[in-house]
Symmetry: C2
Subunit: 223 residues, 2 copies
């Protein structure tokens, strides 16, 4: 009896996410859904990405948290449009929650919308929000066995950022094993090795984002 | 419409968990439900705990994973009874999953049963398995803002193990802030600062486990 109910919730979500995707597409906004375990570095990545790109790209942010607005406060200091979603216990963002924020965001004035999901490597992978790409972070202290244990998010993501590589000397983690296991699950995955602390490797990530935003902008001018 | 459905699932779970709890109590087995984000160190803690206590205490383990049996293999090397639950996508263990393993475990021959939950700081907090205590791990690289962002698990747990304190010199994390925020949510929380890598602080944890197991054993002999 339980599975059909969950299936039903997922089907309703698919429908709402498809409608979100249509709205994002009409407005030529690139939407990235940022997913990781708690404390892997989503908000730090967001801060650096905003600093690096906000002069060329108009960025907006949706912050998803079970409770609190710590992250939204960090981000809104950057002076960009930020909306907080408090899920009030729920373990992921869904299409409907994103839909409800769209009145608070002027999509026409944005090139890039980044959704920071609830810190959870499992449930956000199942719920489409209407994004163009799921972007996942895995941090070095989490260890090198995560692709095998949480395969869905590795399969669903376009980009894997392996973060906190500055900690490699101090932990037992084989970065080549992470990459090998990840490619086995998802051969199309783009992998960047980065440190939000030292900023090593981040420029490749910025280039990826700019390329994707520019591809949408080109389509816009061709209309 | 969604909330009543979830509520119903939780109510069914409460009933099954209560029945599990009765079975555990009849068999005088102490049951600990180990919860953390992916990679915070649950399996390492288990390995050390087994090494330290298996000569005095008869230990069994239930390993919860979405997929794979990496952790169960690590644990069964210790020569103790281990059962693997693969949740096949589900983000937490529930009362029913635990119930189904009980035929594979001879509870009468155990003093301590440790359940290693799916790596997830959110959902396992909501689903009672019938354990005596929820034990949570938070690792230093996850940062010091987690109690505010994931309060439910801090509220539900009897013990918080702050793990990977060997990494304190290399990350921005204020351990006193974690403790202050945690006590604000749950003044009864017992907090241990540990490193599964260097084994610093683990003896206090072992003492806590032994005390709880012995309290049950005393009750047994008083019957």
């Amino acid at each position: 009896m339980k599975i059909p109910v969950v299936r039903n919730i997922l089907e309703v979500n698919e429908r709402i996410a498809a409608e979100n995707r249509r709205i994002f597409s009409e407005n030529k906004v690139l939407v990235l859904n940022l997913i990781s375990s708690p404390g892997a570095g989503k908000t730090s990545l967001l801060e650096h990405t905003i600093d690096a790109l906000h002069k060329e790209i108009r960025i907006g942010v949706i912050e998803g948290d079970i409770q609190s607005n710590i992250d939204a406060k960090r981000i809104s200091k950057k002076g960009i449009p930020t909306v907080q979603i408090n899920t009030d216990g729920a373990c992921h963002l869904d299409g409907n929650m994103i839909r409800e924020t769209l009145n608070s965001l002027n999509l026409e004035s944005l090139d890039l919308l980044i959704i920071e999901n609830v810190g959870n490597l499992v449930c956000p992978a199942e719920f489409d929000t209407g994004e163009n790409h799921k972007i996942m972070l895995l941090s070095i202290p989490e260890g090198d066995d995560k692709p095998v244990k949480y395969p869905l998010i590795f399969r669903q993501s376009s980009v894997l950022l392996i973060n906190k590589i500055d900690l490699l000397p101090y932990v037992d983690c084989d970065i080549n094993k992470i990459k090998k296991l990840s490619y086995r699950i998802n051969p199309n995955l783009t992998i960047f090795e980065v440190s939000c602390k030292t900023q090593e490797g981040l420029s490749q990530w910025y280039r990826w984002v700019k390329k994707k935003v520019n591809a949408l902008a080109r389509k816009k001018s061709q209309r």
